[in-house]
């Protein structure tokens, strides 16, 4: 590992904090979805993904598809940390009327796919992975999908395709936070037996704690260097809104961004002042 576990945990914390700053200022965002995969994103971008440090597109680098597009907000602080955006550029872009010109001009893995219409990203990742194989390119394709996104039939169309090909250069991370927009997944419409579904589509499947840096790293490394001729699925058990305890296991917080006095509460909770966290 390039960084220690504590360092990466601290980075994930910093990214959540910066997300709070950016998106409370904007007054819009999907905090719970972004916080849900903050550790996964931190490990991916610092330890796993091979991409140009200057942000220049190069076909030979790894690809990242954030299919659950509402979670993509956590990438802004990460790319700022990498130096892709200055603080001013970031804040200038994240406002009504702010230009996305730089985002569109420069290649940022994860930002080159316009996610948000759920269910379509995994198929794109399959196409990228198949394209890599046809061109004998060594890059891997990573794709983040939400668990509730897996209600979409197109996810399973893509899963069948990847399993059939088979696309062993494709690594899917399912953000298994057990919450959709309005309800818990197992109450709304059962996804379980979830692992069996991936395995039955000829995928290799692991289940991890999606907030445990070590488990995330080990699972991604195993998938990255796996030799079993299958696409890889990592089901990462997470908590939607992780970092802000008062949001944990609370349905109807999908499009939540704190406002007014709630902003201070969120900061105090994030930095661990216990009485604010309940």
């Amino acid at each position: 590992m390039k960084y220690g576990i504590k360092e990466l945990e601290y980075k994930a914390y910093q990214y959540r904090k910066r997300f709070l700053e950016l998106f409370t200022r904007l007054g819009f965002g999907h905090l719970t979805s972004a916080f849900s995969w903050a550790e996964i994103a931190t490990v991916l971008y610092h330890e796993i993904l091979d991409f140009a440090p200057s942000g220049q597109e190069n076909i030979m680098f790894d690809k990242m598809v954030v299919s659950k597009g509402h979670g993509a907000g956590i990438l802004f602080p990460i790319f700022e940390d990498f130096g892709f955006f200055t603080k001013e550029e970031m804040e200038g872009a994240l406002q009504i009327g702010g230009s996305s010109k730089k985002i569109k001009q420069i290649y940022y893995p994860g930002f080159d796919f316009y996610g948000g219409s759920l269910g379509i990203g995994l198929g794109v990742a399959c196409g990228l992975a198949k394209g890599a194989k046809l061109q004998s390119n060594p890059w891997k394709v990573y794709c983040l999908v939400g668990d509730a996104e897996c209600y979409e039939g197109s996810i399973w169309e893509a899963a069948q395709f990847a399993g059939h090909q088979p696309l062993d250069n494709l690594i899917v991370i399912v953000d298994r936070n057990h919450l959709g927009c309005s309800d818990f997944t197992e109450h709304m419409l059962k996804l379980e037996p979830f692992v069996d579904k991936w395995i039955s589509h000829n995928w290799n499947c692991q289940v991890i704690d999606g907030h445990d840096i070590k488990q995330i790293y080990q699972a991604l490394m195993q998938a990255k260097h796996g030799q079993n001729s299958c696409p890889h699925c990592i089901i990462a058990n997470t908590k939607k809104g992780q970092g802000l305890n008062y949001l944990i296991d609370q349905p109807l917080m999908h499009g939540y961004v704190p406002s007014g006095r709630d902003i201070e509460r969120a900061y105090r909770c994030l930095i661990g002042i216990a009485e604010e966290c309940t």
Partner: protein, 319 residues
């Protein structure tokens, strides 16, 4: 004689033989003209199974990986089932996939309403970046295939299995312009595409021989160079649009919008499909529906005759 589809795929095969790196992606659909491609380039022919949503997503990913991608599916499913993927991927991200769909309009009417792409013109017209193309002759289809190599925007090509003619010379087809003209402006400008172009050219010939100025616009591409199109159609006294598409959102609708945008006043008659109470409750085919909807050649001839007659009568009144 070759159909527009076979003409297109024969050219794709030739281009691939010359070393162009083209992939064909299908949702379980073949064609005689694809047999050679599948035989000699099996690794370049990818089937995703009957899964149109994944068809578009995978094709977008392949294109983003650097490949030239031709999608080939059975209409209307790649459009109607996968419209969100087309909207969010191909159109919004301007991914240069060439999406070909077999059967346009009423081609497969014998299979019922499910197999009739008759709303797709309007659907695709609402999207950014994507061009809808209706090859009206086999040479045009061939030329569309050659564009796969260089085209930097998404295209939707509708193959009509009834079209087997060659009407144009290569130099007459300007994809940037988006339309061709035939005849002379005057009493009537007929605007159509695809299937109707060949029979209506014959009707136009008859009127031209009688000394009546009448013009046909083959609107093979949407969008077109709008100002150039307006310059053409405003030279005629009346406009007639003909299409195997439902009237809302179709080419007739497009022309009315253009006239409004450019503040041009011309009488417009739109001939197209109307299903105010849903689809027929009988077995149908193309001829049956054309007859019922007054889109058969006899009805079109009658409509043209009446419009020309009206133009002459109006002129007499003015005098």
């Amino acid at each position: 004689m070759l159909s527009v589809r076979d003409s297109f795929f024969n050219e794709i095969f030739e281009l691939t033989k010359k070393g162009n790196d083209i992939l064909i992606v299908t949702p379980d659909l073949g064609a005689p003209s694809l047999d050679n491609f599948r035989k000699y380039f099996p690794e370049k022919f990818i089937s995703v199974g009957i899964a149109e949503q994944n068809l578009i997503s995978v094709s977008a990913g392949l294109s983003l990986s650097g490949k030239k991608v031709v999608v080939y599916g059975l209409n209307p499913f790649p459009i109607t089932r996968a419209f969100d993927q087309i909207r969010c991927l191909l159109a919004e991200q301007k991914i240069p996939v060439t999406l070909c769909a077999l059967n346009a309009g009423l081609c497969s009417a014998e299979c019922g309403y499910t197999h009739m792409p008759i709303e797709d013109i309007g659907m695709m017209r609402t999207l950014s970046n994507i061009h809808t193309l209706n090859p009206s002759d086999t040479l045009m289809a061939q030329k569309m295939a050659r564009e796969v190599i260089s085209c930097d925007y998404p295209r939707y090509i509708r193959f009509d299995k009834a079209i087997q003619e060659i009407l144009y010379q290569d130099c007459e087809i300007d994809f940037h312009l988006g339309f061709t003209t035939y005849g002379h402006p005057g009493r009537l400008c007929i605007i159509t595409y695809g299937y109707f172009v060949f029979p209506i050219r014959q009707i136009v010939d008859q009127w031209l021989k009688k000394g009546v100025n009448i013009q046909l616009v083959d609107l093979f591409s949407l969008p077109v160079q709008e100002k150039r199109l307006i310059d053409i159609i405003e030279k005629s006294q009346q406009i007639l649009t003909i299409e195997e598409n439902v009237l809302p959102g179709g080419v007739g609708s497009y022309i009315l919008e253009l006239l409004s945008d450019f503040q041009i006043v011309r009488p417009v008659k739109r001939m197209g499909l109307k299903f105010p109470n849903g689809y027929y409750e009988v077995f149908t085919n193309r001829n049956y529906i054309q007859h019922e909807q007054k889109l058969d050649i006899e009805s079109i001839e009658t409509a043209i005759f009446k419009l020309i007659q009206r133009s002459i009568e109006m002129e007499l009144v003015d005098e």
